[in-house]
């Protein structure tokens, strides 16, 4: 195995629980610690065990990660008397994780990975905390733009969309219709920062030297082409520090294993590029460099 995992309890009275994933072989010197936590109400392993696979893959590259539950979710408890609203508490919990990793493992810098709803806390901490040297959003903020609407008719060339329409509307598959409707309620109703605020937040992080990877998917989302993010915030000045990845065939939680594998490769490549440039060898003696090349075939990432 290329990793070791330990139970990691932290926060007030040790109420927050997580798993610390450390490389078994060589570590990248001065690398940031990677943080992942709950997506929606899922516990910290993430949808389809995404964060377990991701953090173990990152350990093979030399990165230490903490995947944990924010208070009140998964295996973490809410401290007695804590009446803060959930978003505020989530941000505080991420900071607790950073503090604990500094105290117990001497980490000074961090890269939070937000996925869907957990992007909110990742973004908030990224903007306000200088210890955050990189931020990764998986299915973060997306606004419809002119470019989105121009490409919108292309959706109707997708056979899958017609097949779904026929099943739900013509053949009356009520279960599929109910599932689609539930997805819409659960996944896409969130409070986003305004484009102007997002632009200013990105500028703040870029000015500080932080690197950003923003991953988007197609399907039913409000995202239609790779560069849409820059159109959203009407600003490309930080584009040398902001990397975009777009997987038009993937869905919001990367339901297909092949899609998850591609995103994990992309995240690994991003982290190695910005925080692990030194070529090092694994415990087995094989170099890391070829393990995480970005998959940029037009079919999967545009």
């Amino acid at each position: 195995m290329t990793y070791t995992e330990k139970v990691f309890s932290f926060g007030p009275s040790g109420a927050l629980q997580g798993i610390l994933v450390e490389p078994r072989g060589q570590r990248i010197a001065n690398a940031p610690a990677i943080l992942t936590w709950n997506v929606g109400l899922h516990h910290h392993i993430g949808p389809h065990r995404f964060f377990v696979t991701l953090t173990r893959a990152l350990a093979a590259l030399g990165f230490t990660s903490l995947r944990f539950d924010i208070s009140g979710l998964g295996d973490s408890e809410v401290s007695q008397g804590d009446t803060r609203p959930d978003p505020e508490r989530a941000v505080a919990d991420v900071r607790e994780a950073m503090q604990a990793l500094t105290k117990q493992r001497q980490f000074q810098t961090f890269v939070p990975i937000g996925f869907c709803s957990s992007v909110d806390a990742a973004h908030a901490v990224g903007v306000s905390d200088p210890r955050v040297v990189g931020v990764i959003h998986l299915e973060g903020y997306g606004f419809r733009t002119k470019g989105f609407y121009l490409r919108y008719p292309l959706r109707f060339l997708d056979r899958n969309r017609w097949e779904r329409l026929v099943r739900m509307r013509v053949l009356g598959d009520r279960e599929a219709a109910a599932e689609a409707s539930q997805d819409k309620e659960r996944v896409y109703v969130r409070d986003y920062p305004s484009p102007k605020k997002l632009q200013s937040d990105i500028a703040t992080m870029v000015a500080r030297g932080a690197a950003l990877l923003l991953v988007y998917v197609g399907g039913d989302t409000d995202y239609a082409y790779k560069e849409q993010f820059f159109e959203m915030i009407d600003d490309r000045t930080g584009s040398n520090r902001v990397e975009l990845a777009f997987y038009p065939e993937a869905d919001h939680t990367f339901f297909i294993e092949e899609d998850r594998r591609r995103v994990i490769h992309r995240v690994g490549f991003f982290l190695r590029k910005h925080f692990g440039a030194t070529e090092r060898k694994t415990a087995s003696g094989a170099p890391h460099s070829n393990r995480f090349q970005p998959d940029t075939s037009p079919r999967v990432e545009r």
Binding site: M1, E5, K6, V7, S9, Q17, I19, L41, H42, H43, I45, P47, H48, R49, V52, T53, G74, D75, E77, D158, R159, N160, R161, E163, R164, R167, D173, E175, A176, E179, A180, D183, G219, D220, E249, D251, T253, F255, I256, E257
Partner: protein
Amino acid sequence: MKPLFFGEANRRLYGVYHPPAKPSRHAVLLCYPGMQEYNAAHWMFRRLATSLSREGHHVLRFDYYGTGDSDGETDAATPESAITDIHTAIRELRDLSRAREISLVGLRLGAACAALACTGGITARQLVLWEPVIHGPAYVRELEVQDERRNLVLLHADRTRGRRDELLGFPFDARVRAGTEAIDLTTGPGVHAKKVVVLCSEERDEHRAVRDWYERSGVSTELRIVRESDEITGRNLRERPMLSNAVLLELAAELRGSLVG
């Protein structure tokens, strides 16, 4: 609540031990459903474990190899390996609790694995089969129907048509399929348990069949129907366990009897 890793060094399992609120000689092992239903059940299992520990039971809930935070790639988890892991978890729970007797509560595929674990090596005080998977092929078919619908909704129909190596977002290769389809709780060796309770929201022939089979094997078996609110019964089995207070109360009441025995 004490999270821990246990088991062999090359096959560590993650679990959370909930110590009892008062001294007790009875322990409960909670067996999660299959990984397709794990996330939906996790919160309910935490609530159940907390509730049972407050009642005075030692409780351990744990992740099978290849699931949750336990070691192993996701494609390594099979029903056979889950049964092995249940035996490992029972040994761990005995060490943690020094309990005289252990009961097992399993949900869906976890119920089937718990029942099969009780056919050799251990005798459970109570074996609670909660919405159990009784016939493997029917369960696989149910997952396939959900998977096909999910792929339709997520616009993956073209990519996944005819695919048999993934189900509901998880690997499901021929080995896992064969192991799952081999499950049949209405035949084979009887279970070693003082009492079996089959807990379900609606009575079906297969529930009666498993009850009759266990009764014929000489094990006292009760079929218990727990009616849930309309809001819950309208949802699929992957979601119900997360929501059902009625089942939680029923389980707590059922296991209360083991504390006084």
